[in-house]
């Protein structure tokens, strides 16, 4: 037990150091230029962080999801985009670890992630599905005489699509399958053609570099995860996404709070003993932040407990509602904290070049409600609430 805890503590300490020393140093440039956080990703690679979640029997460090979540938080504090890239990679790893079954191809690939620190992206969104990740237009073609199958998928966004080494893509099981009958396929970059579509000049999370792509792939049937995507999604991808994303958002909001606090402290030092309205605002901000922290922390604990003790419970509608609500609550509370931090700091927070700037925090956190639109999640929840019993 103590050995396991050491491994967790090591990852958290390492990502904290990388966040402080590397992510922080490049965050402004990454944001301004909407460029990939190359330096931070290189440092994470060097530290072996991309395989940290892979279990020991496949050669990984076997850290807990709690440690991964803490690492997302640490990175999010200094560079939201770096935190989000790290989080999204770990989500794909969690899906592969949980659902690879007896499939040796996936074991081999995860071994390669350990050895080469491969970065995995996902291609889940698709033009023509109205934002519903539970539906696909693209389908796995029938395998040819050479044993290779393929797909072509038009994705409106693929995060770090130019920079990933492999892609986990949702597609219909076969050409004749219904839109909801999906599987997930892992393909290496050298098995794919990625044709970029459009530009990438968004409001925030600019370093995730997520333009659209037309992705075509050729692969062998063993590269298809052996369970339906609906299971992968319900048991792992959706709840783990909501848990890890919300840790990144908590990191962003926490740094906004820290900046507001530094501002108030500096003001208090200049005018000792004087009444500071901003100090009251800071206290109010702390209670807003603590609400976010409570929901995010509880979501993580609940997921880890269910994942360890009773995974079938993750498929129940009451549980789906719970983790959907984590996403909605955290994605709305994080920008609220950033906006209130801006109100505390005033003009020096609004300016982009002061130690108290929170513009990037606000912009980055505003992406949260779009990453699977909250309105869509509310529609799902509204339906589930009609039938679920105890929620």
């Amino acid at each position: 037990v103590s050995l396991m805890a050491d491994i967790d503590a090591d990852l958290i300490a390492t990502t904290r150091r990388i966040s402080d020393e590397v992510a922080a140093a490049y965050a402004i440039e990454v944001d301004r230029e909407a460029r990939f956080p190359t330096e931070t990703v290189a440092a994470l690679r060097e530290a072996g962080a991309f395989s940290a979640l892979i279990p020991n029997e496949l050669g990984g460090a076997g850290v807990s999801l709690k440690a991964i979540a803490a690492a997302c938080f640490e990175l999010g504090r200094h560079c939201g985009a770096s935190g989000m890239v790290f989080a999204m990679h770990q989500i794909q790893i969690a899906c592969l670890v949980d659902h690879r079954g007896e499939n040796a191809w996936f074991d081999d690939y995860l071994g390669e992630v350990v050895a080469e620190q491969r970065l995995i992206a996902s291609i889940t969104s698709e033009v023509g599905t109205g934002g519903d990740l539970g539906k696909s237009v693209a389908a796995v073609s029938e395998a040819g005489t050479d044993g290779y199958a393929g797909f072509e998928k038009r994705a409106p966004t693929v995060s770090y699509g130019e920079h990933a080494d492999a892609f986990l893509t949702t597609v219909r099981r076969a050409p004749e399958s219904e839109p909801g009958d999906q599987v997930a396929v892992l393909t290496r970059r050298d098995q794919m053609a990625m044709q970029p579509q459009g530009t990438w000049d968004p409001l925030g999370m600019r370093g995730t570099c997520s333009p659209g792509f037309i992705a075509t792939a050729r692969f062998t049937p063993e590269q298809v995860l052996p369970v339906p995507f609906s299971t992968v999604s319900a048991e792992t991808m959706t709840p783990v996404s909501h848990v890890l994303w919300s840790h990144v958002w908590l990191g962003i909001a926490t740094d906004a709070f820290d900046r507001a606090r530094a501002f108030v402290k500096a003001a208090a030092k200049r005018k000792p003993g004087e009444h500071l309205p901003a100090a009251i605002g800071l206290s109010e901000l702390m209670s807003e932040l603590s609400l976010l922290r409570a929901e995010v922390g509880l979501g993580l604990r609940e997921y880890c407990e269910l994942h360890a003790t009773d995974r079938s419970k993750l498929l129940e509608m009451a549980t789906i509602l719970r983790f959907n609500n984590l996403k909605i609550a955290a994605s709305e509370q994080a920008p609220r904290v950033c906006q209130e931090a801006l109100a505390v700091c005033g003009i020096v927070g609004y300016k982009n070049d002061t130690p108290f700037s929170v513009g990037r925090h606000l912009r980055d956190s505003m992406s949260a409600r779009l990453m699977v639109a909250n309105e869509r999640i509310h529609t799902t929840d509204a339906s589930l609430l009609l039938i679920a019993k105890e929620v």
């Binding site: 539970g134 099981r173 399958s177 219904e178 839109p179 909801g180 009958d181 609906s230 319900a234 079938s312 419970k313 498929l315 129940e316 509608m317 009451a318 799902t380 339906s383 589930l384 009609l386 039938i387 679920a388 019993k389 105890e390």
Partner: protein, 80 residues
Amino acid sequence: MKDQIRQVIREHGNLPVAVESLADDADLYQAGMTSHASVNVMIALEDTFDVEFLDSMLKRSVFESVDSIATALAEVGVPA
């Protein structure tokens, strides 16, 4: 009971194919039932058979075929 189940699926499953064309063990999701439609099926089943499913039964796999729905209904006390 299975006739009544099929009736509910016909009215609420929103399937692109006729429910009569599906075997009792055919996968309704593969036949095109959406998650949203499946919730409507669950609600209609509770209403038709005057039962309540437990939270532990309210998951996708329990409602994936006529057979699995019949098993679930038996579990909450509907006679076969």
